[in-house]
């Protein structure tokens, strides 16, 4: 309940933040703080410096046209309040409305969650399914990272230490497409025991043209359920086909167990929740 001492600074620009991160390799970025501060209160983390990026205006905001662009410091609440974003991507409502609780969503940020890469976070899977592109800025300028390359391992991402995640860009599905997220929440922490995000786009003949399935909670990092995706491409999204594909959702995934749910059971949840997410996505694809 009592964090160790640290220095604090709240830069006004991204470049200033990057400069600070370069100067101090013992610094951590403070975004919404809802993963970092609890860890610091338990002294599981004791960074010597916090760089608070909450006062950088350009990191916050939602733009939508051909794609949805979220500033990294956009809070969950801001996303849920965006009619435009939520109506185009109902998966955002499915997932974000189930993150933590109202107070967490008021403070927690999209970028903070992705950069923290908690293995049971919700948006990691959602961004995998939506094929998001992440923009990071560092001492050497800006670069774009494909979401498939972003999550490296438990709590590890492709970001360099002095790099700041600045923007998340989500292509808006065109034509007949549907998205959905289904989650089995841990009764205490609210994190995903298993969460499955699905994107289905249908060809004009109604068959599945593309399918992306992101799974969180099951293993050390968010993963794609590629076997299930492959099984579905080119198929009519009937209940049976969706169920068959979902049966393969756990194949090839790295699945871990803990005192709440064994690996076996988690694999079952991956299959069940994949089917549920696919059914919902298919219904939304119309």
């Amino acid at each position: 309940m009592f964090p160790a001492e640290f220095d604090y600074t709240a830069p006004a620009t991204i470049d200033e933040a990057i400069r600070l991160l370069q100067q101090r390799d013992d610094a951590k970025i403070l975004a919404g703080g809802h993963s970092l501060l609890p860890a610091m209160k338990l002294r599981l983390m004791t960074p010597a410096m916090l760089v608070d990026i909450g006062k950088i205006p350009e990191l916050r905001g939602i733009e939508i046209d051909g794609s949805l662009r979220l500033g990294a410091m956009t809070t969950y609440r801001m996303v849920l309040d965006s009619q435009a974003a939520c109506s185009r991507l109902p998966i955002l409502v499915d997932s974000i409305s189930k993150i933590g609780d109202k107070q967490v969503r008021n403070m927690g940020t999209v970028g903070g969650s992705l950069a923290h890469a908690d293995p049971a976070a919700d948006l990691t899977a959602v961004m995998l399914a939506l094929d998001a592109r992440l923009t990071a800025r560092g001492p050497n300028g800006e670069r774009t990272i494909a979401i498939d390359d972003f999550f490296v391992d438990m709590l590890m991402t492709a970001l360099d230490p002095a790099e700041l995640l600045t923007r998340i860009e989500i292509p808006l599905p065109q034509g007949r497409a549907g998205t959905a997220y289904a989650k089995f929440a841990h009764p205490a922490s609210g994190y995903a025991v298993v969460g499955v995000a699905a994107l289905l786009s249908l060809a004009t003949d109604g068959t599945v043209q593309d399918c992306r399935i992101g799974v969180t909670g099951a293993g050390p990092k968010a993963q794609r359920a590629r076997a299930a995706e492959d099984a579905l491409r080119g198929q009519q999204p009937t209940a049976d086909r969706l169920a068959d594909a979902a049966q393969q959702a756990a194949d090839g995934l790295d699945i871990l167990g803990d005192i709440f749910a064994s690996a076996d059971y988690r694999a079952n949840l991956v299959r069940v929740y994949t089917r549920r997410a696919l059914e919902q996505a298919a219904a939304r694809a119309g």
Partner: protein
């Protein structure tokens, strides 16, 4: 002058609480809100090992940390005695092991404190903890009570071979075994009643101020029993005269049993305050609360139930390993014995019953009373095994209950396993009402229809009885059975010159609303306006010695003490009125706050007028002392025995094993009800703690004695979204034990809910051959039952 209008009757009125205005405006005064000039802050270093020898402690670096005033180890506090175990039930006398303020040579669980830092602020104190160097020699660890008794298991205490603290029995062993052998049907089941963490939303905390001028300690404590804590701390731990210690419980943010007990940190802050001559505050973090404060339940039980083919129960044998943790907490031995074994037969007439309990030390947090304390464990055992018997015989669970209920004509009822006689009861109407509310017959049709569609619906019953108003000193105090001390309750009532009434009570409300309900009692009995009454509690300086609030005892015992004090005041008022009205005492009527000569109510003396006369004192009858003031130490003749039937309806997701509690109906009989709003609130909260045990909660230690469920991110408390609204009703069977006919309501919900919910889930899966599942019914456990 005060209005003399008689108030409308308040006993039974659902008035809102007078406690609330300050609590809803942020003006409550909880332990952490207490700030004294010059106050220091304590942080405690706890053992990282569940079992280890302490070889060396170096506190030098910590002592020189900025802001640190002192660092103490167990050796520095050697002059303090180990904490007492007050309820040495079950023959534990020869192997009592209790914690010290700080461990000296050996730690026995991860909650054991090894050093304390006292600093100018809590942040500095926490910083310095990391600078204390301790060399431990780790020792082997055992966390499971049954394993701990096996030959070769790691040993905790020399005086408890095989870690057995006590072997206790009740009932008739030979007759029971014989009846089981002869029974037409016998069902058997092993049941785990898992370990729970009480989790009051306010953790524990203590502030001690030693006054060198008077050599007195004042200790503010988040406590359910400040008088008991004063007694035990002063006489047993600190070794100072009791009257040199004053204990004050301010607003207490919940207890659920965990704040009944005397704890090491009470002694730590008292010691440090005296050493440093400054006030010292320690407030537990939640993580500490989970490792260091007492836990509840943790039984491994084998049960056998014998019956005739037509469902008449003939015999019950129960064997339980009760995990007591690393040491004995204050009343720990009494929980799995008196409050468990002697309640094992529940609401049923069971001619032959026998209970054997092994109390066992393990390298875990101490286990003591947690809401219900023994009775939930007993009710779970009997209500589960009765369902299993019904399943075996193909009988309706409601029918088998009816068939075995103790009939109303049998009261007072001796249950044959040594409980005091059940005072009153009429079990069938409560069951029938619950079934009516839930529409039992319709449910059975719904269930059958749902199964056709692959949906799993289940209904679970629990017909419970509990023992409340825990008292009679002659019983609970009896050495051997009890704690060798009384268990009555006190109250002082005085009517001041101005007609205002001050009630002081030994009860200690921590959410129960005594300031409201006790004033309701006095308003009616004394006939004064409710707003003219104040109820004071919690400060040993201003209240008579009392035992505090737990065991659903405050209305039945503490409330009756108030009731009796009021009667004594009324008697004195009548004597005084007789004198003033120049009438014979036997002709004086006391009615609605007025005394008058029978037949002449127009010439009355009001209680306010009489209080004034009694106070100014110049016109009193010969020999009468001034003032209307009386104290009662009420020791009831018996406990009270509330009962009822709860019904849970659940739906189980066959794909995930997730249980959804759809409906919950509770019909309770808690005797007469002083304030229905408050009683309903107690039932609601109780139900949720029972549901929590059934579905979510469970403390888990790994094989090294580390608490894996050490935070609220791992230990699941029930949340609003996981629960339905509850449907409550009552039957009223007044208790003959006390003049108000009240029984007690604080624990009923918790006692009834766990078996009701588990019975419902097992019912939902019964057609798949599932007969029993251990709590908590985590989705995976239920899923495995479905899929194996």
């Amino acid at each position: 002058m005060t209005t003399t209008e008689a108030p409308t009757r308040l006993f039974g009125a659902a008035i809102k609480r007078r406690e609330d205005p300050k609590l809803i405006t942020g003006q409550g005064n909880y332990i952490e809100d207490i700030n004294l000039p010059g106050m220091l802050h304590a942080a405690i270093l706890r053992s990282p090992f569940a079992h280890a020898r302490i070889k060396r402690i170096d506190t030098e670096k910590a002592k020189s940390h900025p802001g640190v005033v002192a660092v103490y180890t167990g050796k520095d506090m050697e002059s303090l005695n180990p904490l007492p175990c007050a309820w040495q039930a079950g023959g534990v006398k020869n192997n009592v092991n209790t914690p010290r303020a700080l461990a000296i040579d050996e730690v026995h669980f991860t909650g054991d404190g090894v050093a304390v830092v006292i600093a100018e602020d809590r942040y500095a104190a926490e910083d310095a903890l990391a600078l204390i160097e301790v060399d431990y020699e780790p020792l082997p660890v055992v966390v499971d009570a049954e394993e701990a008794t096996r030959p070769g298991a790691p040993q905790l205490h020399e005086n408890a071979p095989n870690n057995i603290c006590m072997r206790w029995t009740c009932g008739k062993e030979q007759e029971t075994d014989q009846a089981l052998q002869q029974a037409e049907v016998v069902v058997r089941q092993r049941m785990i009643n898992q370990r729970l963490i009480p989790t009051p939303m306010e953790t524990r905390g203590y502030v001690a101020r030693y006054d060198a001028g008077t050599d007195e300690y004042t200790i503010w404590m988040s406590s359910q029993a400040p008088h008991v804590h004063r007694l035990l701390l002063a006489a047993f731990v600190l070794g100072v005269p009791e009257h040199k210690v004053r204990c004050i419980a301010p607003n207490v943010g919940g207890g659920f049993g965990a704040k009944i007990f005397v704890y090491p940190e009470m002694a730590v802050v008292a010691f440090a305050s005296r050493q440093l001559d400054r006030p010292v505050k320690w407030v537990e973090t939640r993580r500490e609360n989970y490792v260091a404060t007492t836990h509840g339940r943790d039984h491994i039980t084998d049960v056998e139930l014998g019956a005739t083919r037509d469902g008449k129960i003939t015999s019950l044998r129960v064997t339980t390993y009760a995990n007591l943790g690393a040491y004995l907490s204050t009343i720990a031995p009494g929980i799995p014995t008196t409050l468990y074994g002697r309640m094992i037969t529940g609401v049923y007439k069971i001619p032959n019953a026998f209970v054997e309990v092994l109390g066992v030390y393990t390298n875990t947090a101490m286990v003591d009373a947690y809401r219900g304390a023994g009775r939930p464990e007993a009710t779970y055992v009997i209500e589960r095994i009765v369902d299993i018997l019904a399943d075996e015989l193909g009988m309706d669970p409601a029918e088998i209950r009816r068939k075995n209920f103790i009939p109303p004509s049998d009261f007072p009822y001796d249950n044959g396993v040594g409980m005091l006689p059940y005072d009153s009861g009429n079990y069938e109407p409560a069951l029938n009402r619950a079934l009516e509310l839930v529409n039992y017959e319709q449910f059975k049709r719904d269930q059958a229809e749902a199964r056709q569609r692959g949906k799993l619906l289940g209904l679970g019953l629990c017909s419970y009885i509990e023992v409340c108003g825990v008292a009679p000193s002659k019983w609970i105090g009896l050495p051997g059975e009890g704690w060798g001390a009384g268990l009555w309750e006190s109250a002082n009532v005085r009517v001041h010159l101005t007609g205002k009434v001050v009630v002081t009570t030994g009860s200690l409300p921590h959410g129960q609303g005594h300031e409201t309900t006790f004033a309701q009692i006095v308003a009616d009995e004394l006939g004064v306006p409710y707003d003219d009454i104040i109820v004071q509690h919690g400060d040993t300086l201003g209240t008579p010695f009392g035992y505090g609030t737990y065991g659903s005892r405050s209305a039945a015992v503490g409330g009756t003490a108030i009731f009796k004090s009021v009667q004594k005041i009324k008697e004195k008022a009548r004597k005084l009125a007789a004198h003033l009205l120049e009438a014979a005492e036997e002709d004086i009527v006391y009615e609605n706050g007025k005394c008058y000569v029978r037949g002449s109510p127009d010439k009355a003396k009001t209680i306010q007028e009489l209080a004034l006369e009694a106070s100014v004192g110049y016109n009193l009858p010969p020999g009468m002392e001034p003032y209307l003031d009386d104290t009662t130490y009420y020791d009831p003749p018996n406990c009270t025995f509330p009962f009822g039937t709860h019904v849970a309806i659940v739906e189980v997701d066959p794909e995930t094993g997730m249980v959804d509690l759809l409906r919950y109906v509770a019909v309770d009989d808690v005797g007469n009800v002083i304030n229905p709003k408050i009683v309903d609130g107690q039932i609601h909260g109780g139900i949720v703690q029972g549901v929590g045990q059934a579905l979510f909660e469970g403390a888990v230690y790994d094989e090294n004695g580390q608490l894996v469920t050490g935070t609220l991110m791992d230990y699941a408390l029930p949340k609003a979204s996981e629960l339905p609204s509850f449907e409550l009703d009552r039957t009223v069977t007044p208790s003959p034990t006390n003049p108000m006919g009240v029984k007690g309501a604080g624990e009923a919900g918790t006692i009834a809910a766990s078996p009701a919910v588990v019975n419902a889930v097992v019912d939902a899966l019964s057609h798949m051959g599932v007969r029993h599942l251990d709590m908590p019914l985590k989705p995976e456990r239920v899923w495995r039952a479905i899929h194996t």
